[in-house]
């Protein structure tokens, strides 16, 4: 049952590969396959949230020998959010008309990689699935541009290949120290032993995931690619691909290398704060809406780092919740920023409020939890930082909104009604979560508890 969503995405991707993705029925077939993947993931998450984590060892080997697929509360919620974001972006592109034939199959391959990443209990398997989704991302970065604007794509590919090599070195070193690739065994070993090289491993993994997520000193590849790629692709990058970075930081930092995370907390706090301020200030100064959204993504990644640095139940809860809500906001904003008409404007406004953390929106609870965690930690300086960050994000988001939707004489015809209503329905979901947050809050709390108990 754990392997079912993975199998659907994988076989679906292979099935779609020889077909011409520009044909409408192929697009709808891809949507059906991805929906089936999402449906089984939701079913799996309900089961996991009720009865606890599930595990399958590939090839009938005994646990500890074979490669394990593991579905726990943290993994399944990330999988559902990421695949949901992929599905929205795919549906948006199919409604607007797919430009190149490889688009549906690559989205399915990325879904395979993402499902695998979130449902694996083996660090090397994590690396392999990570590379599957990165490979799809590399090809998608050139989508819809007929080969123009290749420079941003090349920088994106080279920097992320470097990040992958750093990640591979990190897990090799982890294997060298612990002698196992199983996440549960590594977590137990790291909790008991003090290896002298574990700090170095922590640094390698932090750098690798920071590159994926686009945190402050490793962000330079991100704004050009978010600016130059197609709206649906930008939504996929910000809404699904960036989750690898946040999930990796949470999983590897807070579960596998917990003592090292506590040791490095001041560094995380510093990097997170700089990301928030830098992202917000850059977002205010840049000229285009897409660039402002890209810098906003850099700033928002900083909040996840702050949550991890605070630590404990409250800190991890805030980090997990924020990491789940933020990609949904970005999907709305990137898709709506390319549409015309008041439905899209309303969706964009909801995304704006959610990023700034104004109720009733899901983003409000992300900020609220961070506030609570920093007050619990007794850090007045952090409370001030989050307040200033939110105020700045409201400023730049309203500025984008004003230029995009209020200014006179914006060229462009009304976009397809179905595309606008699709984006609006995601926005309604965000408001719905803001009005009735209990289910998502309890799911987020369960996911964060996995980190504290080790979940094994």
């Amino acid at each position: 049952m754990v392997a079912l969503p993975l199998a659907i995405a994988w076989f679906g991707a292979v099935l779609l590969a020889p077909l011409n993705g520009r044909k409408r029925w192929v697009g709808w077939l891809a949507i059906a396959l991805l929906s089936a993947n999402l449906g089984t993931l939701v079913w799996l998450s309900v089961d996991v949230l009720r009865h606890g984590a599930q595990q399958v060892v590939a090839g009938g080997w005994e646990p500890g020998v074979g490669i394990t697929l593991r579905a726990d509360e943290l993994g399944v919620v990330f999988a559902v959010v990421s695949i949901g974001a992929l599905l929205v972006a795919l549906a948006y592109e199919v409604i607007n008309g797919v430009h190149e034939s490889f688009f549906p199959t690559l989205v399915l391959f990325m879904a395979t990689g993402l499902t695998g990443i979130f449902l694996t209990g083996d660090v090397f398997n994590f690396y392999v699935f990570f590379e599957i989704s990165m490979a799809s991302a590399f090809v998608l970065s050139g989508y819809g541009r007929q080969g123009q604007q290749m420079r941003a794509a090349l920088i994106f590919i080279v920097v992320n290949l470097l990040g992958s090599v750093i990640f591979l070195s990190g897990i090799t070193a982890l294997y060298h120290v612990t002698g196992t690739l199983d996440m549960g065994q590594i977590s137990r070993f790291m909790g008991e032993q003090r290896a002298s090289s574990s700090i170095l491993i922590g640094v390698l993994l932090l750098v690798a995931f920071s590159i994926k997520l686009g945190l402050f000193p490793f962000h330079f590849w991100l704004p050009p690619i978010y600016r130059d790629s197609w709206p649906a692709v930008a939504a996929i990058f910000a809404g699904a691909l960036a989750n690898i970075g946040s999930y990796g930081l949470i999983r590897f930092g807070a579960e596998l290398l917990e003592p090292e995370l506590r040791f490095g907390a001041p560094v995380l706090l510093f990097l997170g704060s700089v990301s928030i301020i830098y992202g917000a200030l850059q977002a205010i100064t840049v000229r285009t809406a897409r660039e402002a959204l890209a810098y906003s993504a850099i700033g928002n990644a900083g909040y996840i780092l702050i949550g991890l640095a605070i630590g404990g139940s409250a800190g991890y809860f805030a980090a997990v919740f924020f990491a789940l809500v933020n990609p949904v906001n970005k999907v709305i904003l990137f898709l709506a920023s390319d549409l015309h008409g008041w439905l899209a404007g309303a969706a964009f406004a909801v995304g704006t409020f959610s990023v700034a953390g104004i109720p009733p929106s899901a983003g409000f609870f992300g900020k609220l939890l961070l506030f609570r965690a920093s007050i619990d930690a007794g850090n007045a300086w952090l409370v001030g930082l989050i307040f200033v960050g939110s105020a700045l994000s409201l400023l730049y988001m309203l500025r984008i909104y004003q230029r995009g939707y209020w200014a006179d004489g914006i060229p462009g015809t009304l976009s397809p009604f179905r595309a606008r209503s699709l984006v609006l329905s995601v926005a309604i979901l965000v408001v719905g979560v803001g009005l009735w947050p209990e289910p998502l809050l309890s799911v987020g709390q369960k996911a964060a508890d996995v980190l504290l108990t080790g979940g094994h």
């Binding site: 590399f138 123009q148 604007q149 090599v165 090799t172 690739l181 285009t288």
Partner: protein, 124 residues
């Protein structure tokens, strides 16, 4: 031996990182190849040791060499091979479009294309 291997890894990674900063895209690709090979060597240096082939039935005495390291190195080789192919094909695409693989030329061409699009592309 360990010192020799780690020095090799360091030299490979260092030369690769140096090549990444070059303007010529083919040199950048060469840098990526060197860096990914240094990581394969790092995998083997980290955990590979001499021993009997790990095939069932295992011999009762004698050291068995670790099969995981070999499979990890193989997987890493395959993945880096795939990415190198992808990168080289993209660079070829750049060459077909711009008749140059120099990053500066590419940047100039894109700046011109950007300026041509400027009026409607700002703030939309």
């Amino acid at each position: 031996m360990i010192l020799l291997l780690s020095l090799t890894v360091a030299v490979l990674f260092g030369s690769g990182a140096y090549l990444l900063m070059k303007r010529d895209l083919l040199r950048v690709a060469a840098g990526i190849i060197l860096i990914s090979n240094s990581s394969v060597l790092f995998i083997m240096a980290a955990a590979l040791y001499r021993g009997v082939a790990p095939i069932y039935p295992l011999p009762a005495n004698g050291k068995i060499s670790d099969p995981l390291v070999q499979s990890m190195a193989l997987t890493a080789i395959v993945i880096s091979f795939g990415f190198t192919t992808l990168l080289l094909s993209l660079i070829y695409r750049v060459y077909v479009l711009h008749h140059s693989v120099d990053q500066e030329d590419l940047a100039d061409a894109e700046r011109l294309a950007d300026e041509a699009l400027e009026p409607e592309h700002v703030w939309r």
